[in-house]
């Protein structure tokens, strides 16, 4: 065991999760490229370790959202049937998909994330009660309310187009298992355009669901022996600390500059992952 490498892993995941936490996402999207490119860690090991990090950061940041009644737990468990099934499919693909495809897919996801980060999210139209309660939503009593701090009262919202949302969630689970990320990239369109949830509710609910989705794939990778303790241990620890720190900083950091920094980092990583997909290595890690 090399102590320096352990400390490096801890620092990387702490930084990645803190930065991710500032924008309300898991740090996996940064951890996998850093490990694969700079740490010379095999991409499969990086992805498996990152899955544990996703669980760690999701679990450690869920409590305040739950206590604040922002998380729609009934909707979360319903959508988790789709995300875990997706994750299970991802686990099967993980073993057979060529490594270069993994790099390529990861680069694509990084670019889409960069693009999403540039466009500001607003509450989707029709968030409040305009639509009638739909059949599935009614059967499972998914409609709910959330406290809006600015107004000082509860706002009711309806969950719309559940079947479409479930299909998108299947895709989110698949990407999540395959790439070891929380895959907010896929969840955000699902929550905004299909289910039409208020942003606060969708962020909290998505964060709550991530851990269960990742548990389905992490369980498989753990039993399989892909989770290398000396890599995943420091990363998990760093993620817990980073997620807690990130949630604190979130309140202070100015949004626009952080966003821009992220977009630059995401595009740089995407470029490097693309090069790697074609077998070219420009940036030589100095560590």
């Amino acid at each position: 065991m090399h102590n320096g490498f352990v400390l490096w892993l801890f620092a990387v995941s702490l930084g990645a999760s803190a930065l991710g936490g500032m924008l309300g996402m898991a740090g996996g999207i940064f951890i996998v490229p850093i490990l694969a490119v700079f740490g010379h860690v095999d991409i499969h090991v990086a992805i498996a370790a990152s899955t544990v990090s996703v669980i760690a950061s999701s679990c450690s940041s869920a409590a305040p959202f739950l206590r604040g009644r922002l998380t729609n737990i009934r909707l979360a468990i319903t959508l988790e049937t789709a995300t875990t099934l997706g994750a299970l499919s991802g686990v099967f693909l993980f073993g057979v998909i060529p490594v270069s495809y993994l790099f390529f897919l990861f680069a694509a996801i990084l670019l889409v994330s960069a693009q999403q980060m540039m466009s500001r999210r607003n509450d989707p139209p029709g968030t409040s009660i305009v639509a009638d309660t739909e059949r599935w939503t009614a059967a499972l009593r998914l409609d709910s309310t959330y406290p809006e701090g600015a107004l000082g009262r509860d706002i009711a919202y309806r969950v719309q187009r559940l079947p479409t949302g479930m299909m998108l969630m299947f895709g989110a689970g698949l990407i999540s298992a395959l790439l070891g990320i929380g895959s907010g990239v896929v969840k955000i369109p699902a929550m905004d355009t299909a289910l039409r949830l208020p942003i606060k509710v969708s962020s909290a609910t998505s964060n709550f669901m991530i851990s269960v989705t990742a548990a389905a794939s992490a369980g498989a990778y753990f039993m399989h022996g892909d989770i290398v303790t000396s890599v995943a241990g420091p990363i998990a620890l760093g993620s817990v600390v980073g997620a807690v720190l990130g949630a604190r900083i979130l309140i202070r950091a100015s949004n626009a500059s952080v966003r821009l920094l992220f977009v630059v980092v995401l595009i740089l990583f995407a470029a490097q992952m693309l090069l790697q997909a074609f077998g070219i290595r420009l940036l030589k890690g100095s560590l």
Binding site: C59, L66, T84, G95, M223, G225, T229, S230, V240
Partner: protein, 159 residues
């Protein structure tokens, strides 16, 4: 309606507590193992000692992975006791899928020599001062054809 809302709020606090204390406990176990490993390697303790320390870390990781499973079980029990059988059935389904994931991983397991020391330096691509590289051979199941076969068998058995 009011009572149902109150029950739901209580469930939210229960889940928040489970996740909060669960994460703290698992992280404590992981840091204990890592801390011991750091100390032991400082004083060049026998490799069995470090292996023991890393086993503690592995247990911590396993606890972290099981935490969301516990969360689903808590939801299952609460919904069942609230006689909300539809949601209880959904929670049971999610639990089944996750446990299926565990089984799939186990079915494809390679039974490697040790779970804690699979790191090998890949000679040709890694400069000597590079901390570690994980060899493709030892860790990717792409390069392990027998195992890939196992996986596909598991897959076809399920379908």
């Amino acid at each position: 309606m009011n009572r149902a809302t109150q029950g739901s709020v209580r469930l939210e606090w229960l889940l928040a507590g489970t996740l909060h204390y669960g994460t703290s406990f698992a992280s404590a176990v992981i840091s204990l193992g890592l801390g011991l490993a750091l100390i032991d390697s400082r004083f060049s303790a026998p490799s069995q000692a470090i292996q023991r320390d890393m086993r503690i870390v592995t247990i911590g990781i396993a606890m972290l992975i099981l935490l969301p499973v516990v969360r689903v079980i808590v939801m299952l029990i609460v919904y069942f006791r609230q006689r909300d059988y539809r949601l209880a059935a959904i929670a049971l389904l999610v639990l089944t899928i996750i446990l299926l994931g565990f089984t799939v991983g186990l079915a494809g397991s390679r039974h490697r020599n040790t779970p804690t020391s699979p790191m090998q330096v890949r000679g040709e691509t890694v400069p000597p001062h590079t901390m570690r590289a994980i060899s493709l051979e030892s860790n990717s199941f792409l390069t392990s054809p027998r195992h890939t076969l196992d996986r596909q068998e598991a897959f076809s058995q399920q379908n």
